[in-house]
Symmetry: C2
Subunit: 211 residues, 2 copies
DNA sequence: ATCTTAACGGAACTTGCTTCCCATTAAGGA
DNA sequence: TCCTTAATGGGAAGCAAGTTCCGTTAAGAT
């Protein structure tokens, strides 16, 4: 998406980087909103540059020039999502915090609009290397935000010293995403509850040591 | 002598169902092999009906008629995979059996050919409802095959009475698939080991009761 | 306020996926 | 074995997707 700046090169940088204000930002907002809508309505397979341009009220040339393909749209949507961070819970106990995390993941994935976006993101990441990197980056930052929850738990003596925070948080998310992306089972409150409880039990047993 | 009885309808059944032997089976085999190859080489987004027909040595009309779309090809590939069942391990202990299961999943997903197929299947399931059902069915049978491993563990007293076998097995698979499909992290032997250990610890803590 | 040019938008153009048609081949039953 | 017709295969036509051209608009600098 970005290209090296060469002194001798006359090719301009990718559109949107030199004049990111005003109109450019407006266009991006409209296109990403249209993309979210389209994904919620008809899913990733029906994502169509032409229709996105029409429903965003921008020229389709612009959409092709700046995003290139449906996968490019989803990748940028992912970058947009990575910028908005929501704070981690602090219920006073690790069990409660992990439950809150599992509930947050569940709420996100079961929300029709968000769920569709995540289905699309996962599908796009399976097709495109750059989108996969963007997705990995998204979760790296998301999990890092919640890491303090685990370190506080260690400090309180709720789980063993030397527990890897990110590894524990991955264990909370994994069952939810497994059902969401692989087996397409319903994500009940029960499933989230068990995900948090199972991860905590494993952490207590010392299964997640720092490497 | 008689075909499907249509009282008012003249449309024949879908191709391949009335004469499934000989040539029809041969065509299906060639097309599914070509699909596997194409997925391993260039991934799901590059899956192209025309090219599949060419490399399978069959008419492209046939591919369109019988499978309809890339998603249809992947869905049929999934049905094909569901038919071949591999037996569960029996190491004499639940910990060993779960480790074996985790290793099996890891080996499957890290195999370049199989891994590409699973990436495609997950992407296709995110786009298509029927493919999602086929994928869910695939795992239902796969996990059912391994359920005896858990019931033996319960009988040996390694985990509490009333542990849900499938729920425990899902817990073993989840971290591996989460990394594979969502965060696209490398699946090391270590990850498989931890997945089995974490699931076992959670089961011992009684986190997976039958509903 | 004025200027330069980054970025946008409409429309024509091109590509390639998909379907239709009909001749050919062979599966399954008598 | 022969017969019926399910299923396949090649090519041409149809259509929607993606691409390019070039004039217009407005962001950011002076």
């Amino acid at each position: 998406m970005e290209q090296e700046t060469h002194l001798s090169e006359s090719r301009p940088a990718s559109p949107g980087t030199l004049r990111p204000g005003g109109r450019t930002a407006k266009v991006r907002g409209a296109v990403l909103d249209a993309t979210r809508d389209a994904l919620a309505d008809s899913g990733f397979h029906a994502l169509n540059m032409d229709r996105i341009a029409a429903s965003a009220g921008v020229g389709k040339t612009t959409v092709y020039r700046r995003w290139g393909s449906p996968v490019g749209l989803v990748t940028d949507l992912l970058h947009d999502m990575a910028e908005q961070s929501l704070p981690a819970a602090d219920t006073g106990g690790l069990a409660g915090d992990l439950r809150a995390n599992a509930e947050l993941v569940r709420d996100t994935l079961t929300d029709p609009r968000m769920g569709a976006v995540f289905h699309a993101v996962i599908a796009a990441a399976a097709c495109d290397e750059e989108c996969a990197r963007a997705l990995a980056g998204f979760y790296r930052t998301r999990l890092a935000e919640w890491a303090p929850v685990v370190t506080r738990g260690v400090a309180r003596g709720e789980i063993p010293e030397g527990t890897d925070p990110v590894e524990l948080l991955r264990a909370v998310s994994a069952p939810l995403y497994y059902r969401f992306a692989v087996t397409h089972e319903e994500l009940t409150a029960d499933v989230a509850e068990r995900a948090a409880a199972a991860a905590l039990a494993a952490a207590r047993a010392g299964v997640f040591p720092t490497p």
